[in-house]
């Protein structure tokens, strides 16, 4: 039987959503070898190795859901950070 981790070569470096090379392993399955959870340190998108390629592959990740890393610092803060009391 093929392990889910052997089934397809998986993207483990470039974020499917923001395309920054900022992906790292966040954690692995409690039963060893069943899945790996990845996270992007730029946009905090996370995905499991067993999900479909539209969740894991930057090439086929849907364009309308992508994020431009340059826009992240200027995103609306909700709620805004208040001024400290004098």
């Amino acid at each position: 039987m093929t392990s889910p981790l052997d089934a397809t070569p998986l993207n483990t470096t470039v974020c499917p959503r923001c395309e920054e090379p900022a992906v790292r392993v966040m954690t692995t399955s409690p039963v060893p070898g069943r899945w790996i959870m990845y996270v992007c340190d730029t946009c905090f998108y996370s995905y499991r190795s067993t999900e479909g390629c539209t969740a894991t592959d930057p090439v086929v990740y849907p364009k309308e859901w992508k994020v431009d890393p340059a826009e992240i610092p200027g995103m609306l803060a909700m709620p805004p950070v208040p001024q400290r009391r004098g």
Binding site: M26, S29, T50, T54, V67, R84
Partner: protein
């Protein structure tokens, strides 16, 4: 009937054939959320789902409970009623119990979640089978937990301690993102903490008996305690216990208690997340939580909420705790209001039944709904019906609309009203026209139409309803 914890409620569901245990292997994505969506798509009498064989977790150890209150029988059982109790009766029972507020709390030192504690090497994915709910969510979320914070300027005030439900993105093994909107009680707590230059201590209690989950979504006043309201709704003192790191009061019966702090001044990208409106809300820069202590039962159950295109479990959990406050506020001004059904997308659409006193009365009631505290952000469409119509019976409501509503006389449009920004029709965000649809029978001095010869049910119909109810059961 008060349930001590989630496990006791699941047992009650099982006794009533309202729990489906599923032990065949399932994938975290997309099986778990698909099963929850499928249940509410198929029926409004569906069971709770308990999965115990999830890929990557040892069978029996990684468990997920979904759709726990996701049907009218389960909602009735939450209230300790017969599972076949009609929705309108559940509404009046809920409204009656509200009058018992504030109930008592019972402080206990021996909570079952004290069995295991962790303060190093915390990995929430090892503890709970976290998973993506909707395809374009940014990651895994916790969206049914009781989130507890205190007012930093008045930390000893029990009523100002808030126990609410918020969407929480799991950003790392021990790091979360949260959406504490400025208008929410937790938003006020965070603002005060940040004005003081302090982190805000927080406790997140996962896996609870269903009453506190229902109360967690209630629009209570700032200084009203959710635990005292839970006591009123369940008709018995509500058990709480102190979380060890923060001293915050959390439900005694929780499966897991996470503790940490919202980090002062920090904002990070969060979202998108599929919301209760049936649409995604986009990415924003939102506060961050660092988890430093975990307490949990052995083999905890991850109780989770699927939400997305209605109806989902959230529509059941919010149905009456949205309808009843609106009813109480309207009733204070208009005693002629009979019942309120505001359970469509949290009251964006509401149906009010009223015993009219004069022509134009129903329209006034409809417009008042829009200016109640809840109506300021909801009540975009208000349908008003007579007192002979059960607002929870859509067949009756549609009949009233089809024969008693006149488009020329009975449509009142209020331009540019306020609405929650999540309403996808609002333009700009948070502004929308609102409408009252008056489907009541015209009465004096508004004499029009041909309504004098209404067909009544045959004389023994009510008696036969009772006979047949017994036989069908």
């Amino acid at each position: 009937m008060a349930y001590a914890d989630l496990r006791e409620f699941l047992e009650a569901l099982q006794k009533n054939d309202q729990l489906l245990k599923y032990s065949d292997p399932v994938r975290p994505e997309p099986d778990l959320s698909s099963a929850a969506a499928a249940t509410t798509n198929l029926t409004d009498r569906g069971p709770a789902l308990l999965f115990d064989n999830i890929e990557g977790y040892e069978q029996g150890k990684g468990r997920v409970a979904l759709n726990v209150v996701g049907s009218w029988p389960n909602h009735a059982l939450m209230l300790g009623l017969d599972k076949d109790t009609p929705v309108k009766e559940q509404f009046f029972e809920f409204a009656d119990r509200w009058n018992a507020f504030p109930g008592q709390v019972e402080r206990r030192a021996d909570a079952p979640w004290q069995e295991h504690t962790l303060s190093e090497d915390i990995d929430l994915f090892r503890l709970l089978p976290l998973f993506r709910l909707n395809e374009h969510d940014v990651g895994s979320y916790i969206d049914k937990a009781i989130v507890v914070t205190r007012d930093p300027d008045d930390p000893e005030h029990f009523g100002k301690q808030n126990a609410g439900i918020y969407r929480i993105q799991v950003k790392d093994k021990d790091r979360l993102g949260i959406q504490p909107l400025a208008a929410h009680d937790i938003g006020l707590h965070l603002r005060k903490a940040e004005e003081r230059g302090e982190n805000l201590p927080i406790a997140i209690a996962i896996g609870n008996e269903p009453v506190i989950t229902t109360v967690g979504g209630m629009p209570l006043a700032y200084d009203q305690s959710e635990y005292e309201m839970a006591a009123a709704i369940q008709g018995a003192p509500y058990r709480i216990a102190k979380a060890p790191l923060t001293g915050l009061d959390v439900p005694w019966g929780s499966e897991v208690v996470l503790e940490g702090e919202i980090i002062c001044g920090e904002r990070e990208i969060e979202g998108p997340f599929g919301e209760f409106t049936g649409y995604y809300s986009g990415a924003r820069s939102q506060p961050v939580i660092r988890i430093t202590r975990v307490s949990h039962r052995g083999d905890p159950i991850f109780e989770h909420l699927y939400l997305g295109k209605p109806w989902t479990e959230m529509d059941y959990t919010l149905a009456l705790n949205t309808s009843v406050p609106l009813y109480r506020q309207l009733k204070a001004d208009f005693p002629d209001v009979v019942a309120v059904n505001a359970m469509y997308t949290q009251g964006l659409l509401g149906i009010i039944s009223v015993k009219q006193r004069f022509g134009g009365h129903a329209k006034a009631v409809g417009m008042r709904a829009m200016t109640t505290p809840h109506g300021l952000a909801y009540c975009k469409v208000i349908i008003v019906v007579d007192d002979d119509i059960d607002p929870f019976n859509l067949a009756q409501v549609m009949w009233a609309l089809s024969v008693r509503f006149h488009p020329q006389h009975d449509l009142v449009t209020v331009p540019n009203g306020s609405v929650l920004a999540l309403d996808p029709s609002s333009d700009p965000d948070g502004i929308v026209h609102k409408v009252v649809i008056d489907a009541t029978t015209p009465i004096s001095p508004e004499t029009r139409g041909h309504y004098s010869h209404e067909v009544a049910d045959p004389s023994a119909t009510a008696a036969w309803e009772t006979i047949l109810k017994g036989l069908i059961k």
